[in-house]
């Protein structure tokens, strides 16, 4: 079976979520190919070629692929896709943007947020904010699938490299133009890739309140996440949001502070290995998914936690 994986990258490095999609691809077929479309992204194509299980990389260069629009990317992918049984991309804002376009042009259904493969035509995906999981069977000749990265390990890189073939770019569509991007700069690990995430909610009270979390994150080398209420209140940027409509994370350790635990938030973090919740309300639903519950005032606990962490981690 042939599988086409569309790589997510920033023209310099291959995104970790792509490696998870490749793992899913390897479970589906033995002929796994990766499309790297970008601008000045040869290094990305080379990195993709070294990932274990990848048999061929198609590399397409164009200025308008630097930050490709869904319109341009879908046009490129659709042409290639007709020769494949599966077309995969990470279930991120990148994949979610163009992949449904590909499916519609191919006149096939799309499977969003794949979390498990049961058979070549049977897939498991969460619905209702993760309160239920559906097993679906696809009747389509080409199966277009977005892969939830937290459900698949990252594919390792090997010593050998697959060949890289150039794929001619398609002309830029005048339907859409990218005018600008404002990306949040951060020294911290990327939220979806971090081993430890400390997340704050409305309980943090202010942007200043989040400083207390930053101090903890510094000690732990953690990423910072947030509930929607914290983002809406302007405490942190919107790309910190974890949940049904934010990012899906599954770190080794998730520390939820001043977050009540609405289902829409749980949807984004309930697959974390260990969950710690700090909340002053004993009845907060977050405690139902917490491995360790600390019922206390965060403004008292966080400085204590920082001191304790610096004490034990210094040893």
């Amino acid at each position: 079976m042939s599988v086409l994986v569309i790589a997510e990258h920033d023209n310099a490095t291959l995104a970790g979520v792509t490696l998870s999609a490749i793992t899913a691809a390897v479970q589906l077929g033995d002929d796994v190919r990766v499309l790297v479309a970008g601008h000045g992204c040869r290094a990305v194509a080379e990195a993709a070629a070294r990932v274990q299980g990848v048999g061929l990389v198609r590399h397409s260069e164009a200025a308008h692929y630097a930050r490709p629009t869904a319109e341009d990317l879908a046009a490129l992918v659709t042409d290639l896709a007709v020769d494949f049984t599966y077309v995969l991309a990470p279930a991120t804002t990148f994949g979610k943007n163009f992949l449904p376009r590909v499916a519609a042009i191919l006149d096939v259904a799309m499977i969003s947020d794949l979390i498990r493969i049961d058979a070549p035509d049977r897939f498991v995906r969460p619905i209702y904010a993760g309160n239920a999981v559906a097993t679906v069977q696809s009747m389509d000749p080409i199966k277009v699938i977005s892969v939830r990265a937290t459900a698949f390990d990252a594919a390792p890189s090997g010593a050998t490299a697959a060949p890289i073939e150039v794929l001619e770019a398609k002309p830029h569509s005048d339907l859409a133009d990218v005018l600008a991007e404002q990306l949040t700069q951060s020294e911290r690990p990327e939220l979806t890739a971090a081993e430890i995430v400390v997340a704050g909610g409305r309980g943090m009270g202010s942007a200043d309140g989040f400083r207390l979390l930053e101090a903890i994150a510094d000690r732990l080398g953690a990423a910072i996440g947030a509930s929607r209420a914290a983002v809406d209140a302007g405490y942190v940027p919107n790309d910190y949001q974890v949940g049904q409509t934010g990012k899906i994370v599954a770190p080794k350790l998730y520390i939820a502070v001043g977050i009540s635990g609405a289902i829409q938030h749980l949807a984004g973090m309930q697959d974390s290995k260990v969950v710690v919740a700090i909340n002053k309300d004993e009845a907060a639903p977050i405690f139902q998914v917490a491995d360790y519950a600390l019922v206390a005032d965060l403004f008292q606990i966080l400085p204590e936690l920082e001191t304790e962490l610096s004490r034990v981690l210094a040893k």
Binding site: A129, S173, V231, D239, K273
Partner: protein
């Protein structure tokens, strides 16, 4: 039928956004009609879903989730889409707003909500089948052919199937541009500029009209519905048709074999101090 907006998380908006929407309104008041240019029609698809506050339960036979006696509402993202269309109309950019819902006859309620919010007309497309995003997109394409809107604004995601596909599919079928996950929409005469929430931050795209925009959570703050609006909505036209009448062929491409509960998390323990917590994290689960 619940038409009055509940208080809840959708009401929570950051100050910056309220400021922005106030600015939009202020500039709308200033703009004289003559300078507004061509007035356009906006189509807003709205889906009837289980209310976001309901804890859904999986049916014992694994065939789906319990919907009997469960509160249903307009998909929250679609409320944002309706609100955005109304604001564009209030800003003098839009002439009329047509809401459309596809599904069981009960979707009428959802359409009445859209009308009470401020949509001008509503279309109900009935079907017995549970439609998947590609089919919904095909139905919407047929509606677009009839109504010729300059803009379709819809939710980015239905909170039941969580697919996040329909808007993109509709745009592809129409050969239109798309602005997904919108947190800002600025309409010009022949283009629309959309600020999109992406994983790393924000992205701004300009789309040629006609186009499809899908709403993200921070696009606006949907208004409360006042009682007089509910009464007025009853007078507004609501036209009903079937999927067959539209001539759209639907097909089952994805068969749901089973719906089950996610694996439960093991129950946790209470810790009484920071020292105990850190000790457990280091020595019991060894994550530090």
């Amino acid at each position: 039928m619940v038409l009055v907006r509940r208080r809840g998380p959708l009401r929570e908006r950051c100050a910056a956004h309220q400021l922005r929407s106030r600015r939009v309104r202020a500039s709308a008041e200033r703009a004289p009609t003559a300078q507004r240019g061509i007035l356009m029609k906006v189509l807003v698809p709205v889906k009837r879903v289980i209310d976001y506050n309901v804890k859904v339960r999986v049916k014992a036979d694994g065939s789906g989730v319990e919907t009997a006696n469960v509160k249903m509402s307009m998909n929250p993202f679609d409320e944002l889409a309706v609100e955005e269309a109304i604001r564009l109309k209030e800003a003098g950019r839009v002439e009329s707003i047509v809401a459309v819902s596809i599904g069981a006859p009960a979707c009428r309620e959802t359409l009445r909500t859209a009308l009470a919010m401020g949509a001008d007309r509503a279309l109900l497309v009935t079907t017995e089948a549970e439609l998947q995003p590609l089919d919904v997109a095909k139905v919407l394409k047929a509606i677009v052919a009839q109504e010729t809107p300059a803009l379709v604004i819809m939710g980015k995601q239905a909170i039941d199937d969580d697919c996040n596909q329909t808007g993109q599919m509709l745009a592809a079928l129409l050969g239109w541009g798309q602005g997904t996950f919108a947190c800002g929409v600025a309409l010009a005469e022949d283009s629309v500029t959309v600020t999109r929430e992406i994983d790393g931050g924000n992205q701004t795209v300009r789309l040629k009209l006609p186009a499809v925009v899908t709403a993200d959570l921070r696009l606006n703050e949907p208004r409360y519905i006042k009682l007089p609006s509910i009464m007025k909505a009853k007078q507004k036209p609501l036209q009903s048709m079937t999927v067959q009448e539209l001539g759209v062929e639907v097909a089952v491409r994805l068969k749901t074999l089973q719906v089950s509960e996610p694996p439960p998390r093991r129950s946790g323990v209470k810790v009484s101090s920071v020292a105990e917590l850190v000790d457990k994290l280091r020595n019991e689960v060894k994550v530090l």
